[in-house]
């Protein structure tokens, strides 16, 4: 037996399906050929290693995702395949060419891209109607963003100062309203004390 012949029979030998003369010929070749013996040991070793490896289990939600993606059974879908000649040409065009573009993930991605660009343009003071290739110059875009960010910072600082002033006025007013009842109570106390004194004076007269 040659090394090439052994290579073909080795799988069957490892499976245990090799019998009779072929098996004894293979074993006698193994005893005289260190390279083939090494190969056989490697193959047997790896197959034994596979025994220690657990099966890869899919996550439970995968089944739900697949059934959600294709929920009605192929019988239902087969009727709506693009190759169906009974469908009108518009349905075939939109169902075939644009089907992948009309998937929710593509539509969502496209919407997010447009939104991002519009926000960026607004932030950089680029008017979509006057948009020219020169407006997309990175330097110009950067200057626009820088300028706008400074303005926002100034506005924020002004707002903060105004807010501080308002809070200060409010707290001052609160202090005054807190003080007022005590003052009025004091004045009332003075008045009530003054009245008995006046009545006492009247009785003495």
């Amino acid at each position: 037996m040659t090394c090439a012949e052994l290579e073909i029979l080795l799988c069957d030998y490892v499976d245990g399906t090799l019998r009779g003369e072929e098996k004894s010929a293979l074993e006698s070749h193994l005893s005289g050929c260190p390279a083939c013996k090494q190969l056989a040991e490697d193959v047997v070793g790896v197959t034994a290693f596979f025994e220690r490896v657990p099966q890869a289990e899919p996550p439970a939600e995968l089944l739900t995702r697949i059934l959600h993606q294709a929920p009605m059974g192929p019988g239902a879908v087969a009727e709506r395949l693009p190759s169906d000649p009974s469908r009108s040409w518009t349905k075939r065009l939109f169902g075939g060419l644009f089907q992948s573009w009309l998937q929710p993930r593509y539509v969502m991605g496209m919407a997010m891209t447009i939104l991002s660009f519009s926000m960026l343009a607004r932030f950089a003071h680029i008017e979509p109607r006057q948009l020219r290739p020169a407006d997309l110059d990175p330097v110009k875009v950067w200057q626009g963003i820088d300028d706008h960010s400074h303005r926002i910072y100034d506005r924020a600082m002004k707002y903060y100062d105004n807010l501080r002033l308002v809070i200060e006025i409010q707290s001052r007013l609160r202090e005054w309203t807190d003080q007022d009842p005590s003052q009025s109570a004091a004045t009332q106390g003075v008045q009530t004390n003054a009245q008995p004194a006046a009545s006492e004076r009247g009785s003495q007269q």
Partner: protein, 213 residues
């Protein structure tokens, strides 16, 4: 006369896959497909439930990525969903048809993502290697379970796609040589030759990482 000690549990006279896949299960597949084609929603659910694990497992072992394997499994079933009418029960087993479809999708994916893999961060590879080495140090080279699975995953990625798919289909999915030959569209002799080479390369990779095989 030199003989190689062969583990008896798995490598019995009859392939375990033949033992598991009885004629009843084959009939069940064909019946499920027929019921699906007649528009029964429950049959489609059963078909997906029965075969999701196999498809996911092949995809996961091949790509070494759970999210990619999940996406590919979804794509496979979407393709099954659309092409089930092209399956002919007389021309072969449903499992072979399904696995061929999965394999074609995996090869497409492999070609598409070749550039991304080439630019994969070296840092990630170094981290994975360190983690593997730490795992082996803890177990004194005799790894099993999840660690064995992770090490096998890393080792499988070192193989060429031809050798990798052959090893996965035979050693993990336990398909017959004849079925693998049908799936890969190559002669049985080529399947056996690739299997030997793939197993030998795996042994070298595992031994290099000080794993006892």
């Amino acid at each position: 006369m030199a003989t190689v000690a062969i583990p008896a549990a798995k490598w019995s006279w009859e392939s375990p896959y033949t033992q598991v896949r009885t004629s009843n299960s084959l009939d069940a597949d064909v019946q499920l497909v027929e019921r699906c084609l007649s528009g029964q929603e429950a049959a489609w659910e059963d078909l997906v439930k029965v075969h999701t694990r196999r498809v996911y497992s092949i995809c996961y072992r091949f790509t070494n990525s759970d999210p990619e394997a999940q996406d590919l499994t979804q794509d496979v079933f979407l393709r099954v969903f659309k092409n089930l009418r092209s399956f002919r029960a007389g021309e072969g087993l449903f499992v072979v048809w399904l696995t061929r479809l999965t394999r074609n999708l995996l090869i497409d994916h492999y070609r598409r993502t070749r550039m991304e893999r080439a630019t994969e961060s070296i840092e990630d590879q170094v981290t994975a290697l360190e983690e593997n080495t730490a795992a082996i140090a803890r177990t004194d080279g005799m790894v099993a379970g999840r660690e064995a699975s992770e090490l096998l995953q890393a080792a499988l990625q070192k193989l060429s796609p031809e050798l990798r798919e052959t090893v996965i289909l035979r050693d993990l999915e336990e398909l017959e040589y004849r079925e693998i030959a049908q799936i890969l569209n190559v002669p049985e002799g080529t399947v056996k030759s690739r299997l030997n080479r793939g197993r030998a390369e795996l042994a070298k990779v595992l031994r290099r990482q000080k794993i006892r095989i």
